[in-house]
Amino acid sequence: SAVISQKPSRDICQRGTSLTIQCQVDSQVTMMFWYRQQPGQSLTLIATANQGSEATYESGFVIDKFPISRPNLTFSTLTVSNMSPEDSSIYLCSDSLQMNTEAFFGQGTRLTVV
């Protein structure tokens, strides 16, 4: 199994500011994924982060708003930029160690923008 540590676990931020969320995996993994989960809703994929290349973003998400770094095979960050109250959500990172098996998730970052 993989252990994914995500921080901060929660934060309250002022609108217009940015927050960087960190995700650390205890094993080397090729791909990591960032999801958003709005209150009471399901998970929506933001982007896929590969080490050594730019992240691939899903429709509705752009790099200027959600820049992602992937400096090595065990770490990734997601920044929520120029935040507004609509960005209040839970942000989760995920990975699967092997091609055919379960995915592992961090515990999530609960972001509140005021």
Partner: protein, 112 residues
């Protein structure tokens, strides 16, 4: 990816068996069925995965009929700690590491 349909919510009592059914009419030949559980303030956690017939592990059973157009997650003798959202996902394996597509999920509330 095949679209899934689940009940939005279910209620149960401690000690009862809970069956959550997921419809996936457009499931493809190489698709597997996977269930995840999500507690409040936590990321989803893998429960069980199957392709056909029945799969059982220490947590749950998964029943898949021959046509594979639906599946049923069975939780035996639930407790209060089984209160969570349960997601049914359908997709191919062996396709490389890829992100998961989550449907709306079923919110299970277990009462004492």
């Amino acid at each position: 990816l095949a679209k899934t349909t689940q009940p939005i919510s279910m209620d149960s009592y401690e000690g009862q068996e809970v069956n959550i059914t997921c419809s996936h009419n457009n499931i493809a030949t190489n698709d597997y069925i996977t269930w995840y559980q999500q507690f409040p303030s936590q990321g989803p956690r893998f429960i069980i995965q199957g392709y056909k017939t029945k799969v059982t592990n220490e947590v749950a059973s998964l029943f898949i009929p021959a046509d594979r157009k639906s599946s049923t997650l069975s939780l035996p003798r639930v407790s209060l700690s089984d209160t969570a959202v349960y997601y049914c996902l359908v997709g191919p394996l062996g396709a490389g590491r890829r992100a998961l597509t989550f449907g709306s999920g079923t919110r299970l509330q277990v009462q004492p």
